[in-house]
Symmetry: C2
Subunit: 385 residues, 2 copies
């Protein structure tokens, strides 16, 4: 496998912190697409989550409108329904869902542990019961690659073991060692020409285990590296601290992905730490629950105080939801459980997340790390945080 | 009230059947909008139903894309939530929902009888309990006008009594007489300058009562006339027969509206009878249930036979759903209960309904009634019906 043929990553500007460590950076990730296509992604970037073949409520045109550059698909869900072989027969995930941008698929490992019931793990893989119908299935590192190969995603994640939180040092250590072995087995499984691979660093909240896991995983010929095992129940402060600790342990010139993170402030802290890619269900899931992110902080649109508000949701925001509707209408749709509610809320939350990443990229390009620090201060001040 | 100032209706072409009766017709309905606006509607036309301030799942841009010319709002629902006075404070229904086209509101009468529990009717009005919270409310012809006035709709429907089906001749007769009295009381209630009024003919399935109701209602200074009391449980054949009987009883040069109808074949029969306006929840509700209308007949997208289908839903259809997605993907979204399912299905069903009306209009303009009869035959043949 020659990693550079399928993925290229160039750093346009990188800040250096007071300890001389490379931190917040703006880059460009180039992925070889299927056929003649090439996908160019400007980082830092947020990836909307399209769990089961759609970003809930969003059409591909909506995703383009909000300038989504890459989306995420879930291996566990797509394996169960509609089935990875079916997706492959129908032209792989991109064509299946009519999305012409790049897609990253996770390995299914996290869902196998968190969603399915009665999972049983051994050295070879994980046996679990489907959350849909209770049927028994078994994932191995090889099957995870086979599924992601069939889905045809542009970035394939290694099959790792994410221990629960809290976990003992022994449990985290064992999961970390298994993650390394599974990473090697996955690498031996051939993928399609246009598929890049990312390895995952585990190690929980133990700094020495993070150092060891990063050392082991970054020895392997991956095209990029992810920090796994965070945002699984620990406090945001611990998560941010561990991401800040782990990011510099990853190779400077490879893309870095902080999995499953997070709140807007977590994205700011992740970028500050030197992370390039993020994904989280928060903007989409919270949208459906009426929790909206704005430049002034969070809004619960159900709140009665919005019933007569002619104000836009976020006057700073260029999205359809903010330019065309009032808070009163958005509240009405939510309270009335109208289908349009989830859609408009999702358009806004994703636009906010993507816009926040664009803004951070601009700040880094314009002024480097010190300028970023000044910007971050004003970000927190505006939110009253 | 001078009806011509607020609504103008011109017939561009009208077919005449073998008995010399004016039938299928193509026209243009011009409504004075709020402010300086004028709305021009080409008929026959189908009005998508936006029950509670949105056509479920659709944005105004979607409605424009499918060439919706006018939509319907429900007085009963909007009165209960968010409240008509609130809608008025927020700029009337058009601005509230960010739809810049015209809106017809029903009178609330039908929902009061069909949706609310424990309704009690007397000469003055109807007392009922909200389907939302059981609270007690009372509608009168005057309150119905007051609500529709506040909503600011372009076409205001008279508050009528729609007897259930089946009903005795006495019950239907009593409802018909009350409908006439209520029509007069409604007419005495002042509306806004841009609001046209439609009267409603009742009379159930009794031809002589239809004659009498049509005679009485069309004496009143309404801008247009509707056929009510159909599509409430009787067979489609009876419904079509009664619409065909009643349509010519309405003034030739006023718009005719067949309320709550119907299936595609009912629209064809309605147009054949000489109807200009239609509304029905069927395309939107059935979309959410996976029932899709196509040029080849109905499709239940849940059917397993579509699981691997790379075909578009309807190859004849220009909508986003048919040009961008496969049946396999639409089935997957439906089976997985993805939000996008209802949206894509609704876009298609409404596009189909609106396209069917456009096609009938074209056929009438090109060839008149005989040509329409030929076209209708081919319409049924393609559907295998």
């Amino acid at each position: 496998m020659t990693s550079h043929s399928v993925l290229e990553f160039s750093i346009e500007k990188q800040g250096v912190d007071s300890q001389g460590v490379g931190r917040a950076r703006a880059g460009r990730l180039t992925l070889r697409g299927a056929g003649e296509k090439t996908h160019s992604i400007l980082t830092p970037v947020f990836m909307p989550v399209g769990t089961v073949g759609s970003v809930k409520g969003m059409s591909p045109a909506d995703l383009h409108q909000m300038k989504a550059q890459i989306i995420l698909g879930n291996t566990y869900h797509l394996y169960l329904r509609p089935g990875h072989q079916r997706v492959e027969r129908l032209g792989e995930l991109q064509r299946f869902m009519a999305w012409d941008g790049p897609i990253l698929t996770d390995s299914g490992g996290f869902q196998v542990f968190s969603l399915s019931s009665l999972n049983k793990i051994d050295e070879q893989g994980v046996t679990f019961q489907s959350h849909l119908d209770g049927s028994t299935h078994r994932f191995t590192p090889e099957l995870s690659m086979e599924i992601q190969r069939a889905l045809g995603s542009n970035i394939v994640m290694a099959f790792d073991q994410c221990p629960p939180y809290p976990a003992t040092r022994e449990e985290v250590g064992a999961a970390m060692r298994r993650t390394r072995k599974w990473a090697e087995r996955g690498l031996a499984f051939p993928l399609k020409d246009h598929q890049a691979r990312f390895g995952i660093v585990q190690g929980g909240l133990y700094e020495d285990l993070r150092v060891q896991s990063a050392h082991e995983i970054t020895q392997l010929p991956f095209d990029g590296f992810a920090i796994g095992g965070l945002s699984i129940g620990e406090s945001p402060e611990l998560m941010q601290k561990m991401a800040f600790f782990t990011a510099p342990l990853l190779p400077q010139h490879r893309p870095r992905y902080l999995m499953g993170v997070g709140r807007p402030e977590d994205l700011v802290e992740g970028v500050r730490a030197g992370i390039d890619l993020f994904d989280c269900v928060m903007p989409t899931r919270n949208a459906r629950n009426g929790q909206l992110f704005t430049s002034q902080g969070k809004i619960n649109i159900k709140n009665a105080k919005y019933a007569d508000s002619k104000e836009p949701l976020d006057p700073q925001c260029p999205c359809e939801t903010c330019t065309q509707y009032t808070r009163a209408y958005l509240r009405h749709l939510f309270v009335s459980r109208e289908l349009l509610s989830a859609r408009l809320n999702t358009v806004h939350n994703l636009t906010y997340y993507i816009g926040l990443m664009e803004e951070m990229r601009r700040v880094i390009l314009e002024g480097g790390f010190e300028f970023f620090e000044v910007w971050a201060e004003s970000f927190y001040r505006k939110r009253g945080g």
